[in-house]
Assembly symmetry: C2
Homo-oligomer: 427 residues x 2
């Protein structure tokens, strides 16, 4: 039996599983062993049922190859409903909750052969309350949120792939803090049925892997788009460096990564330009926060009505704030967002992708929260696809990187450009 | 005790409940009695628990007035999750399913004091499979679908208010067949959390009542917009008569209602114009059907993977068709829809509202299905608010009417215009 199966890439595992060179049971056991060894320290998993994971694996080993993820282990953020594992949404209100169904995204992965290892820790309703999960690079630090357990478990080689969601910055930020690849597809690209809603205009599903190829494999299943797996370019992309209006919040390591990226790309012959920042973007961060707060009041109406005393004070305060926003103001906010979205093409100009910070800097200390989604809110609101590319280290030795941004709906193009850029950044 | 409490309007009930002139228990008992008497014939209810309904009522009677729906009975389409009643989505797959939570829309109503009488019959996953529910005007006919039980129960005075959803024509069409007021708010106006998804770009929540005022009261709670309750105009609205490109499918009774509406409005001094039909609208019906089919494959991924043998053949065929649509085609479809949506303003011109058929004609026979959403697909796709106004009868003595259409987000304006128009149509 090959050593360290849990460290193999999803693509490598998938290839060997398709030919039966590896069994799903072997791979699943390797991941479960890693979890058993490490999760007492990392706390990435909310619900683990080794017997159930092994049962899925054995059943796949005994049957035909069912799809591109045949036998590949998957972590599922505990914001997705699962019929065979508890689903708690990171809230004591739902302790022991067992839905009757899998979320659509989970079902798509299982129909493609994935083995659901367990549910990964989410912050309370994918909001901001800090969870017990720690950053695998150093447990004094946060892995980010709200997809805390998914990012940490992939970074720690407990699973090659995991599902996440982003409403503000909940995929890209934890990917950045954990030094892995996180992909937030275009808004609407992955079905949301059975995924606990936080804000209907913003909630976007995606996932994590340790390489672009791994994330592309997962996304090809979630988006029902096989072309993502092989998406490549014949020529260098033209890259716009987008500093963002929040640049003053960028820590030195982020500024350094930004400058280093431009240099390395130029050195490799990639055309790089500095993308100007439209004044309208000033309003976007607050706009995103207000739309999220207003819609959360609706989405969490049941919890707010029936279980107000079991919401964290921080979330209750966010909801109270959202409840003070009028419908009229919300309509105006949505209209303003739509207008700016309509002008995104101009932002790209003749660039194929933008490169921009994913987070202010390295992960903050775990007791300070899950970090600030500042550099992500804009892109979630615009609905554009984003992929975090790790390639540097900060002063504490923690990961740093940048996110590449594509045009809405051009997820394949973004994936192709990211595949061109990432190896150059890593040099 | 006043006779026929079940026939009072929601607004009248609410007023008497707020002053304690009526108790919630009295009102609930009257509705339960009507259900007990009639539902053996109508089959509007999927799950009824009289003890639970009465317990809610007594609890409201014993406590303070909690909101504008205090003590008002409500039917909940069985596509909405409910924590205290089974939720089956009209499918044998979910027989006996008990979610841990109420859908957000249900919670908003309950937080406003509504008494949930029970769950009303939905077609399978709010799709087209015909249910057992019959039209209260004549049980040989369908009440329409997919909100079959909600429309039939309101029309039959089993409940003053009921919740519905529309993805193609599932609120407006049953309202038309049952001769009641049905309101589909603007897309995105009511939170969808906990409502079984069918198509993320289209699913819209709304409700039914026997008058505009009743529906406005319900919508004010669902949309958190008190202004809907009192929305009125000082001057006559300018009305565009929109024949629709499907006019050739309009039965004689629909053509007659359309002509009669124009005449009555003109006679009352309302400015009425014939709205020209943009050529682009030719594509919209198929566009809506294709977007719905593609997204249903995603939304029902779990049922299609795990329970394919328990889907109706008709739904399975729709899903198979949707699975043949590529993501690329779907993106192009969404882009085309967005473009046409951007031009809706031009369609309205200087009209305040449009009046257009809600259905081809009277309700078809029950064994022929739930009727054709033909005249609704366009408006659901455009995301505009629609309200069905009943005012005429067809050759079988069944109800006929028209829907009034407003600009997206202008639900208050539509409600005000509908309040002006409806009494004139009924003359």
């Amino acid at each position: 039996m090959p050593a360290d199966l849990n460290r193999l890439s999803a693509v490598e595992l998938a290839a060997q599983l398709q030919t039966r060179a590896l069994s799903a049971e072997q791979v699943t056991r390797a991941c479960l062993a890693r979890i058993a060894q490490r999760d007492g320290e990392i706390h990435a998993w909310a619900h683990i049922d080794p017997d159930y994971a092994l049962a899925q694996a054995r059943s796949l080993d005994a049957g035909p190859i069912v799809g591109p993820l045949h036998g590949v282990p998957l972590g599922v953020k505990d914001i997705f409903d699962t019929a065979d594992l508890p689903t708690s949404y990171g809230s004591p209100i739902y302790e022991g909750n067992r839905p009757a169904q899998d979320a659509a995204a989970v079902a798509l992965c299982r129909a493609a052969g994935a083995v659901v290892l367990g549910k990964t820790v989410t912050t309370e309703f994918a909001s901001y309350q800090r969870p017990a999960t720690r950053n695998p690079w150093h447990t004094a630090y946060t892995p980010g949120g709200s997809s805390s357990g998914s990012a940490a478990s992939v970074a720690d080689a407990m699973t090659p792939l995991a599902l996440g969601t982003q409403t503000a910055g909940s995929i890209i930020r934890p990917a950045a803090y954990c030094g892995i690849v996180g992909f937030k597809p275009s808004f609407g690209a992955v079905p949301r049925a059975g995924c606990k809603a936080l804000a209907d205009s913003l909630d976007t599903l995606g996932g994590f892997g340790r390489s672009i190829d791994d994330v592309a494999l997962l996304a090809s299943v979630l988006m029902r788009e096989p072309a993502l797996v092989t998406a490549r370019r014949d020529t260098a992309p033209r890259v716009g460096m987008y500093r963002s209006l929040h640049w003053r919040h960028a820590a030195p390591e982020t500024r350094e990564a930004f400058a280093m990226a431009a240099e390395r790309l130029k050195a490799a012959g990639v055309e790089v330009v500095e993308t100007p920042m439209p004044d309208a973007h000033c309003a976007l961060m607050q706009l995103q926060a207000d739309i999220m707060a207003y819609e959360s009041v609706g989405a969490l109406a049941f919890e707010r009505w029936r279980h107000a005393d079991r919401l964290s004070p921080a979330l209750a305060a966010i909801l109270d704030g959202g409840a003070r926003i009028t419908r009229e103001q919300h309509m105006a906010n949505l209209a303003q967002a739509a207008e700016i979205r309509g002008r995104v093409e101009r932002l790209f100009g003749d660039c194929d992708v933008l490169l921009t910070p994913s987070a202010t800097g390295e992960a903050p200390f775990a007791d300070q929260g899950t970090g600030d989604p500042l550099f992500c809110r804009l892109w979630t609101l615009l609905g554009v696809p984003c992929i975090h590319l790790p390639f540097a280290k900060g002063p504490q030795g923690l990961p740093v990187g940048l996110q590449a941004i594509g045009r809405i709906g051009h997820d394949i193009g973004l994936m192709a450009a990211a595949r061109w850029i990432h190896p150059l950044l890593q040099k």
